[in-house]
Amino acid sequence: MVGHKLVELITRDGGLERWRIVVFAEEKRLAYDRVGLSALFSGSTAEDLSLVADGAYDGVLVHLADPVVAVDREQRLVVSASGAEERYDALVLATGSYPFVPPVPGHDLPGCFVYRTVEDLERIREYAAGARVGAVVGGGLLGLEAANALLALGLETHVVEVAPRLMPLQVDDGGAAALAERIAELGVFVRAATQTTELEPGPDGGVRTMRFSEGTDLEVDLVVFSAGIRPRDELARTCGLKIGPRGGVVVDNACRTSDARIFAIGECALARDRTWGLVGPGYEMAEVVASQLTGSPDAPVEFTGADLSTKLKLMGVDVASFGDCFGEQESSRDVVLRDDVARVYKRLVLNTDTGRVAGGILVGDASAYQLLRLMAAGELPTPERPEQLLFPAQAGDAGPGILAMPEDTAVCSCNNVTKRVICAAIADGVSDVGGIKAATRAGTTCGGCVPLVTDLLNDELRKSGREVSNNLCEHFRHSRQELFDIMRLRRIGSFAELLAACGRGRGCEVCKPAVASMLASLGGGHILKGEQAGLQDTNDHFLANLQRDGTYSVVPRVPGGELTPDQLIAIGQVAKEFGLYTKITGGQRIDLFGARVEQLPAVWSRLIDAGMESGHAYGKALRTVKSCVGRTWCRYGVQDSTAMAIRLELRYRGLRAPHKIKSAVSGCARECAEAQSKDFGVIATERGWNLYVCGNGGMRPQHAELLASDLDDESLVRYIDRFLMFYIRTADRLERTATWLNKLEGGMSYLRSVVVDDVLEIGTELEADMERHVAGYECEWRGVVEDPDRRQLFRTFVNSPDPDPDIVRVSERGQMRPALPEERAAVTPVLVGSVR
């Protein structure tokens, strides 16, 4: 990885004019992302991991699968295994490390592996096919990653660690306990404080029995060694370069070895008296060498050491450690948060002399990692009560400190990208996270810094006056509200017309669905009519919700949550017949998951015959109006909330909006329907209804606010009509009512003056718009099922009636669910030459 980085940097800085570069690689492929190696077990291919951009090696001579076997320093010559010789003026060793395998008897039996290269993983995968039990020797960071891989391959997985706890280098006893508990829950067996003394073969000659120091043993089929890494310094040793006492090619701060013409970088180098087993410091060393070779002025000329803080997601569990995580300083004191229920462990080490954060350990929830790490590194000031950062972020907290960060803060530690570099990219015109990734590589390795990058981006854009633009996208220089007015006033009825009137290009995944939604709000007819079909997002296009494996979910409307026994039976029958997974949703209705594209019309045909209709779960549209049983049954109810919920749901069903709309009606102030968390919520009073608006749950929960009280039925409906239509006209794309209100100048009192007092005198117009919607409503699914041309759109292949053979199901708790990648691998035949 580091060698590749060096080539990239040299070519970038014009080094090819001064240098003829020759690369010798032992592996048979160009550089790939070793950090992401485990992704090979979750569907990625070796090609996906490649780090090499097209043309990156133009003008560079590469010998693949041909390691250097000797260096002749006198003649300045390297010799490769195949006998190739090259003279050098400068030689850079970037030979990395090798996994250390403890020399226990039997360590080289068939079935014993290490975890370092693509080929290692391929061999493990192959061998695991016939195996049932796997063990990993070593419970450090890589060992746990390997254990996760074995789990993914379907093996019963054991981890054997000599130290008394997991990840001894990164976490303390408390953290390791939380980690071990969570990992055990995933089905991994952990044996700490256990030394492996011997491996014995079974009858087939492959590894079978592991013997441990305490006299126990374990039957296994496969063993992965992950007991640490050692620098690959063999070349340097044989040519007489200075080597550290525990290995590693000794280099100075300029990364030069004891021979001034030879550099060493990455994991093979012993820099600042230690080796560095992370990619970030390696990349920094590559920069140091590149700047010396190209004479580039802005790159660093000294390796200054690097932050060894780490944050990982191991088997879905966040683990992070940073700074002086074990509190080794005299003056350090701990704040520890141990939550045995949520199995979260957080330790914050404070320096009592300075009052600053010195380091810490986070297990189970590492959301505060980036900020705490920067505080420990002294790059952010420590706030007054740092221990509060151990509690999960509260909604509404602005990310503290981004502004306070000094320019040299490494925002992305994987690629060592500073705030300065990111800000420079933004100043050069980059305006989205994708652009920052492409320009600076920040966020492209572990992804952990992306939230920080995003905050920084928004902040910088705002500061530079490039007001986070409200243009819909590159194809329209208008906000959604402006486009809505243009379409309404000029009676524009298609995307093509609108593009001709005020857009450019072909449109994209942002503007097309937004315009489709506006056409629908303006009464544009069936959403799959003619040109409109091409605009819809896949959910709207197939009138169902896309799931992770490419199948869809089906949600029939259940107005107010009221369902007859016959409808329940019908839903059950359909699910059974088509093999769908059923679940009660959070919206008082039933979701049927796993329908393939070509099944959708048949599924819906059955549901429609049973009297049901589309629930618009796929649309930015009215979702559900939840209800409580109300006065009819409940001893406290003061109005018939169920009937009102049904009335409202039927009135606004199918209404397209900038975002989804949810509602609820409660029969009394006890509020069992949770109306105050809805876009519009209604609560019964002795005298009528109170109307609350602009609430939501979801990512940033916000309570709805009271708009009007004690309304009779008709006023209630009139106000809701006006409220919804005003929102639809004026909100931005993907803006829920709460966000819209938060930005609305004048806030709730302005909204009330428009909806209740009609100061803009558009009340009747808005009501008329809604009447048109109500009159024009038809079930979108009926419109498909009854139209053979539209039914035609629902197929997996244009040239075959077959289903997608890659959709594979397994059974769980009596129902079907999508197979995980590794389960799928077990049942799908692999076609030679296929790219699937």
């Binding site: 449109g507 994209c508 995944e509 669905p513 896949t538 494996d549 490419g550 997608d804 990648p821």
Partner: protein
Amino acid sequence: MSRWVDVCDVEDLVPDRGAGALVGAYHVAVFRLSSGEIYALGNHDPFSGANVLARGIVGSAGDVAKVASPIYKQAFDLRTGVCLSDPDVRVPVFATRVNGGRIELSDRPVPPARPGTASADSPLPQDDKEEQ
């Protein structure tokens, strides 16, 4: 050596929309643009692992015609298969041509066209000449 495989009528495709097709064992996403061009990419979305690119929205970024994956929205250049937000990722490209109102595809991926040279019927690689 690749050959042309008949897939469907031009009219079977909705303009500016894709459709899945099976070409031998390959899952292909075929796109018909309203401006007439036909493009074909591998249908397998490398980010989600599902065969869904054909169900994405077709559009443009600058001059580049693209399709956005319907699952996590990464966009791919229709000519080269390169992911616009992550240029290290590329999906396979198939050659396309229209023959008597029928769409034909190469029976295996071809090296991607260089940006700017793609046309509605990009040629198959040279070594295929004798077969046609």
